[in-house]
């Protein structure tokens, strides 16, 4: 009987250890979605942090997003236009772009870039705060790190993710169109191509694209927060960064996959 109990204990400990982060991440994401619309959560300190985080996350990543979008425009969209034109399947251009670029590639790449440019910075900051005992100072002064740091950053990253996602899609399509026009196999205007993409979007696509981007932004912030503040005092940032990166990437991929399956 004791042996069976020990087996159950070991099994439970192993399951708890492996699911702990995922459950906390889900709970924190839910808490952000619940609290974000509540005016009471947005004191001026939280608003200041929101403005700072939004500037940092959009301003810090927009250059990288544009460069990546141009590369995708050249490598993927122009190629796609060429081969679809060659195969006489121009009518499929909108559908292909929506399925590959809008629904899958844009949210993933934006999430990765947001994680690299802002998530790792946040993780570094939270980990340092934890290591220095600043979390204790905040709580002693009645300042809730969730309300003051996570909530504004999560909302800022969500809006930044959506903004950067829109920039990414538009720049990628325009680049692909430009290249196609220069090479002579794309005869439509840029607005015409954009219009074909919009026409190919079903209502699910209009829901999935922003939902993915907004959720990915929240997940990047929440994952950084949990990894940074969940660290032991002795953990250094060099150890936390790869751990936080892997956790956030996994969360982004799972979120993207789940939303793609739902819609």
């Amino acid at each position: 009987m004791n042996g069976f109990r020990r087996f159950l204990q070991r099994l439970g400990r192993a399951v708890r250890t492996r699911t702990d982060f995922a459950l906390k991440l889900a709970a924190l994401t839910f808490a952000v979605l619940r609290d974000a619309p509540m005016p009471g959560m947005w004191r001026r300190t939280a608003r200041s942090e929101f403005s700072r985080s939004l500037r940092q996350s959009v301003g810090g990543a927009v250059g990288t997003i544009v460069v990546t979008a141009v590369l995708i425009g050249v490598a993927m969209i122009a190629q796609g236009l060429y081969w679809l034109t060659t195969a006489g399947q121009q009518s499929l251009v909108g559908t292909v772009l929506v399925t590959v670029l809008v629904r899958e590639l844009a949210p993933l790449l934006v999430g990765v870039i947001l994680l690299g440019r802002s998530g790792t910075v946040a993780l570094n900051e939270f980990g340092t705060m934890r290591g220095n005992g600043e979390e204790h100072v905040m709580q002693s002064l009645g300042l809730d790190p969730y309300q003051l740091l996570l909530l504004p950053r999560a909302v800022a990253y969500a809006l930044a993710s959506f903004t950067l996602g829109m920039v990414f899609v538009i720049v990628a399509i325009i680049t692909g169109h430009l290249l196609g026009s220069l090479a002579g196999y794309e005869r439509d205007t840029a607005l015409g191509l954009l219009s074909r993409v919009l026409s190919a979007m079903a209502w699910q696509d209009f829901a999935v694209f922003p939902a993915k981007l907004l959720l990915i932004g929240i997940l990047v912030a929440a994952s950084s927060y949990l990894t940074g503040f969940g660290a032991r005092r002795t953990d250094d940032v060099a150890h936390l960064l790869p751990l936080g990166f892997v956790r956030a990437i996994t969360a982004i991929l799972i979120c993207s996959l789940m939303l793609s399956l739902v819609a």
Binding site: T45, S48, E134, S140
Partner: protein, 237 residues
Amino acid sequence: MADAPAILDLQQAEMAPPPGEHAERPITLRLMPGDFALVESRDTARSSGFADLCCGMADLVSGSVGFLGQDWALLDHQETAMQRGRIGHVFAATNWIHLLGVDDNILLPQRHHTNRPDAALRDEAAALSVAFGLPGLPMGRPRDLSQADLARAACVRAFLGRPALLILEHPLQTRFRDMMPALLNALAAARDRGAVAIWLTGNDIVWRDRSLPATHRLRLTAAGLAPAPLPNRMKIA
């Protein structure tokens, strides 16, 4: 004043010991508006533990800690945060959030807990900074300021607004002559408004200073918190 409720009321409060350590003796302390408790504590970790107990940050094994008539244990998350906003605190170890400038660090609790305009807060903080010997409200990051200026800035944050309780963990560090007059003036003003002050010190110069207008002189050790009046002056024949 006799019927006024206690600002801080510790009744047989016993903290949960850290893993592997023995529990310390329960603490009883009742501070009324205007009281000033000077506490001798040679151990900064014990000082911080006591400070945590006073502001409801410590897990209790038994007893209770009341602040402004409310038991910390019975307050929800929001109420706890709001009550802590009435405490001015100088910490023994870390005082600063490294992401923010010292000015933002100083203003942060008041900006969060009150609706006072930023300009009024800045004016009051600047006046307090000057009173504590700074040229004005310090603007740099905490790492850019000297330890002496950070000690002054920590006092500015603690006294900013109208704190009901002041917890000063070793606030002077080694700058007794520079900061003592300003600190005593600020303390007197706060006590006149009805605030309670707890000054934790491990230094003999502060502890033996008879000019400090303490209403309670206490010693914090592993045996708990006990009254520790200064010995009478020896008379020279």
